[in-house]
Amino acid sequence: MDQRPDWRRMSFAGGLAVLLLAATTATTPALGQTAPTAAPPGPASIFDQATFPGKQRPPGDPAVIARGQALFGISCKACHGADLRGGDLGGPNLLRSALVLGDQAGEAIIPVVQKGRPASQGGPPMPAFALPPADALAISEYIHSIVGRKVNQGGPPPQPEKPLNILVGDPRRGAQYFTAHCQSCHSISGDLRGIATRISNPATLQDSWVAGRRSGTPVPGVPATPPTQVLVTLDSGGTLQGTLIHLDDFTVSLTTAQGQYRSFIRQGPQGVRAVQVRDPLQQHRQLLTQYTDQDMHDVTAYLATLK
């Protein structure tokens, strides 16, 4: 339930914590005192600090955690999985278990380890493990150490990247598609020469060509996406053209080839008769509504051959 697409754009007030402490701890603040100095800047995103209790725990003793990991491997892994996300024998995912998440210091986990559990929630019963309290606690500490590595918005702890092959398309069909739809603007001996060398990651290559966005090493003076041009016809009959800076229903602004910034009110006594936008990505936008996934994968496979 990501409620909002724009959270990355937020900035953060770091001064709040300091102000708060000043207000709650000072019993007799001196009148006329200047405002507290600003605290260090806050996190870059709302997720860059320990959001929930599982991440807020102080790190456990590494030796205990290591012992817990070894014990987990012997007694727990077969059912709960090496990554704690559930195993073949039907043990539940421990990283989203309310019992685990609500546990503070083993008080909930240790009895389950030592006494087992009857079948519940549609899963198999859990056998009892005759482990001394210190061992059961070590397992509990290990589980908490993994919970603490979960990523934002409930994602599992990061794991070594799995080698995934995104090049499933047919380069021959991709070449045909390219000839039919792309060649009027792009050339494999021109702008796309060596594109697969420039962008070696096939997923980045795909993101880049579908969006019409230049990726790879930046080239000075070459923008990531080509600028949109605009032709403004004034009520007086005069025209101006240049690079579009802003357009809404009420104003339009541009920079002319000479580098002059101009803006216009679109309605009113000295208004604008017409605004013609030339969006160099128009064809890319159009194709977004037409590609099948197979077209997309084929063209990516073809472009990936252009080393």
Binding site: M1, D2, Q3, R4, P5, D6, M10, F12, A13, G15, L16, L20, L21, A22, T24, L31, G42, I46, F47, A50, T51, P53, G54, Q56, R85, P92, N93, L95, R96, A98, L101, G102, Q121, G122, K150, V151, N152, Q153, G154, G155, P156, K162, L164, I166, L167, V168, A203, V210, A211, R213, H246, L247, D248, D249, F250, V277, L288, T289, M296, H297
Partner: protein
Amino acid sequence: MTRPARCAMFLVAASLGLCGFALAADPTQSAALPPLLPPAQLLQPLKDSWPTYSGDYSGQRYSSLRQIDKSNVSHLSLAWTTRLNGEVRDGRSRSPFAPPSNIITNVGGEGKGDYAIPPPAVKGAVLQVDGVLYVTSPDNAWAFDARNGTELWHYFWKTRGGTHIASRGPALWNSSLFFETPDDYLVSLDARTGLENWHVPIAAFADEYFSTMAPVVIGNHLLVGTGNDSDAPGFLQSFDPGSGKLQWKRYMVPMSADDAALKTWPSLDAARHGGGQVWMPGSYDPQTDLYITGTGNPTPGYTGVARLGDNLYTCSLVAVRVATGQIVWHYQTSPHDTHDWDSSQTPILFDGTIDGKPRKLVATAARNGYFFTLDRVTGEHLVSYKFGTTANWSKGTKPNGQPDPNPEKSATVPGSLVSPFEGGVTNYQAAAFNPDTGLFYTHENTGFNILYLTDPDPRGSMGLGGKRFSIVGYTGNAFQAIDYRTGKPVWRHVWPGNGGTGTSVLTTATGLLFTGDTNGNLVAMDAANGDLLWHTGIGNISAPPETYGLDGHQYVLASVGDALFAFVLY
């Protein structure tokens, strides 16, 4: 329930000789005053006040105020503007550029005060009752004079943490003001003073719940929802607004083996971690005594492999009996969602005619790009239409009107080209309905992303993990006026440019619409045809526009981040 040590702040204030406001805020004096909003008043037609999330229970966001009309809206001018101040203040004015203020922040909360929170921003309802505006932002609540924007009190909640994404606004019951906190408390304040009455926990913080919903008062029930991005069950709760005591808790996924909805899940374990959060206010029909709410996406969000089935009651319209929490009917607007497209949008209730037959209706425009009209008494499906022009993720609609998801448009290893992108065709933004035009108004985001599966584990991923998406283009975002009888747009206005997101809508009895465009303007439109009648470039509208009447003036209120703007005719 915990009662705060409110005396401490009074002593500090008194010792500083700054007791002017503190004396005015004497709780015993406040208690002797008549209630600000007896709950029965919420059953009255919407007029001068804005006493609940959508103005009234219908969700229409339709105001009967008539002073501002098509002929004079172009003369709207700024009455006042003010900015939210989230600082914990001690009564001294800090800025030489700010008007004198002796605000003393009332501080509550269970945290240590060391958690960095986002700057204040309005992303939900502002209530207006008796000339006072009530505003919330995560961990903050304020009261302002609705005539001039003067701050009257500020309450700050020391959080334990949690996802500080938004507060969707407060609720009023008699003289109590309620709001939810990101660390899962329901806080009750004295609305006249901003002093805390009590706070109660509403969800297990350890399970990664975070609470943003604007509570809804219905009689002696306070309906409270919460949110969660991890794999935890969603629920709606009802609290006693006087005491904070839980009345009932209704899960939106099966929690026991005898639940009939369990057949839409592969296992009880999957269901109990299946999401369906309730994080937006619903609407209420006093005639049938049904509270109708949308529910959120199933979890894990992007990997449906371990939760095959329709996953009831996620991504659904659910009609709940207010007294008991019993589900009377449900209709799933997005079966087996795999894109994080909640169906949480506040539904709109109205009466209309379908196929020549008068009907009591409910309509919603969902984040997945489909518009629905149902019979709100029975839940019978009447209309489906894909209003998201570019939405490409379904194979069409099933005989019962539900979209039929195309599995190939879930996240795939080589990438699937999906529209809309992750944020949806619409999201939490409020739509509106004007009974005079018979049209349903909503913004429409277009746009495509490539959605990659990065965790092809047969057990599925967790939460919103296991995927990566790359936005690859927009095709023009728009505003639509939809005929509820067909779901088709009667008119559609495309905002110039690419990107940006549309905002919530207000409509009036004089045939006006107020909304934000995608370029930082508050605009007034002709509800009949979309003609642009007025605009002002105050920034991206972050909260639903509202209107209220005071002293013979009709105000239009809009919020941009931490700034409130009130417009009026002179």
